[in-house]
């Protein structure tokens, strides 16, 4: 009886379904809208300005890597990518370490303090970075961390905390009370509950937070500009320099810069997303 059931469902799922067709249609359409501009950037990295402007979408005449070499020589792009990657990983970790316990506290511990805390954090969204420029610079200088990427790793979590905490708290609120109660019955303390039970279950929330924070960290310009020097540039600073190093914009050069800074990000994204997604699936099945 049950096998008949399931094969019926399978049949329905596998058969021609208009929703899925439309889904594919729009997805592919949108994907093309993304791929074409990226293709434009990648091929431009092999061309000179005239070719970029007059024949943007044509394949390059030769796989000439000179723009890449120039980009590397000009602003040490590889190092900038390394710095950005290190800062991103460090910040993500620190933000998670700070936000996760706080989110747990707000979502699962019944006390009036949690509403207060959430309100305080919500204010954080609306503060422009410009306001803390000077105080942060002074703090960093006094701590002897000027021009050290560690300074960014310490600073950025503050910007990302409000959102991370509120998002994680939102996810955690939904989860059933029984999870904790049974764990407490078994004699677990708070830290154990948090780490072994809530962390795996909140993986979608954690991923969301990681993804969001990544954008903020990777694209941050102002504080990286003020706190770093030319040896420890982030990717943003390096590509900006490529763009502005002379009055005439060299599109091929910028394109080469973009391609180089994109590759590690792509690799990390593809690699880590599979690990985390598969872990999540395993967690769900275990239920």
């Amino acid at each position: 009886m049950s096998t008949w059931f399931f094969s019926a469902i399978q049949k329905k799922k596998n058969s021609f379904n208009i929703f899925v067709l439309c889904g594919y249609f729009f997805s592919i359409f949108y994907a093309l809208l993304i791929i074409i501009p990226f293709y434009f950037v990648v091929v431009s990295a092999f061309k000179n300005n005239t070719q970029v402007i007059l024949t943007p979408l044509s394949l390059p005449t030769a796989l000439d890597f000179k723009k890449f070499i120039q980009a590397q020589n000009s602003v040490n792009l590889l190092r900038a990518t390394m710095v950005s990657t290190g800062v991103t990983l460090g910040t993500e970790l620190l933000t998670l370490l700070l936000a996760f316990p706080a989110a747990y506290a707000v979502a699962r511990i019944q006390t009036r303090l949690s509403t207060v805390l959430e309100a305080i954090f919500s204010l954080g969204f609306l503060i422009p970075g410009l306001a803390i420029l000077m105080p942060v610079y002074l703090m960093t200088a006094r701590a002897g961390l000027l021009y050290n990427p560690i300074a960014l790793i310490i600073l950025y979590p503050a910007f990302n905390l409000p959102l991370s905490m509120i998002l994680l708290a939102g996810f955690m609120r939904k989860l059933p009370r029984e999870l904790e109660e049974s764990a407490v019955m078994d004699g677990a303390n708070v830290l154990q509950i948090m780490f072994y039970i809530f962390a795996p279950i909140s993986t979608p929330g954690i991923i969301t937070v990681l993804v969001l924070n990544f954008i903020n960290i990777w694209n941050e310009y102002l504080f990286a500009l003020i706190l770093m020097d030319s040896d420890n540039r982030t990717v943003q600073l390096a590509t900006a320099l490529l763009r502005a190093s002379q009055r005439t914009v060299d599109y091929g050069l910028i394109a080469a810069g973009v391609v180089v800074s994109l590759v590690p990000v792509l690799v990390v994204f593809i690699f880590f997303q599979e690990k985390i997604m598969s872990g999540m699936l395993a967690g769900a099945i275990k239920e």
Binding site: L33, I127, K174, M194, L212, Q236, L266
Partner: protein
Amino acid sequence: MAAINKAFPDNKGDLFNIEYHRRIVRRRRITFLLLASPALLWFLTFMFWPLLNMFYISTTRWDGLSLPQKFIFLDNFIRILNDKNIAIAFRNTGIHLLVGIPGVVPIAFMLGFFLSLRKPGYQILRTIFFLPSMISVAALAMIFLGLYRPDGMLNTFLKVVGLSSLNRVWLMNQSTALGALIAIDIWSGIGFYSVLFFAALANIPQELYEAAWLDGAGYWTIMWKIAFPMMLDFFGVVVILQFLYLLSGAAQNVILLTGGGPGTATLTLGFYLYNQAFLTHRLGYSQAIAVLLFFVGIIVILLIRRISSRLSY
């Protein structure tokens, strides 16, 4: 008394024990503070102080980081009321929001739902969708300049399909400049939020969908009658995120592509803040605009929260 160290009551007598309750509350508070204080500490150091700073600077006249500040009380705010540009910026930002939120969030949700069905190829699609968020702002600018230039890809494409009458100078035309910028935000926003929705939707067990299948529901119904209600809170969060981005972050595109022009066609509130702070060096005034944005932001966020919690009933 033994009751004091218990985490849960195990007899009726405990429930009437004041000491027990007090102890529980105190323990909870301590645990709470221990867990939350590192985050709070970080936040207060780097965010709270600047918030106060922002309010203070908005009451001064400060023409450059190297020049002295002069307290001028509420003059900056009076200036806001009289500034023609503020009204224009409000209008432009308003259009930006009215198009940029409904144009992104629902579509992103639908795409995210489709991704969550895990049909063949969904991983590639997901990576492609996320691409726009991975590149730097300067790169985005380069791409879209290449698209919107008078001899750029968009006009060339229109020519090729025979619609050359639609050719325009997109970024410099009063009627299309703002739209062109909004299109960029929609383009990158849909991809980004669809991945986010995918992560959120992945938590929904497939059995729910199967049950609906058995009842004869199609995907469309499942999407809106099952997935969407479960996602309402997250939906609200995404709307808030996009709102905040459009309010302040989208200024990067304006800075790099149109500089607020032509005339004032793309002058948004976020750009105006940047303009006053970094270009015309009216730091005091720029912070007054920041205060304005702050309060606007709070009001809108509260509104969105209220609506989304009302809807989840």
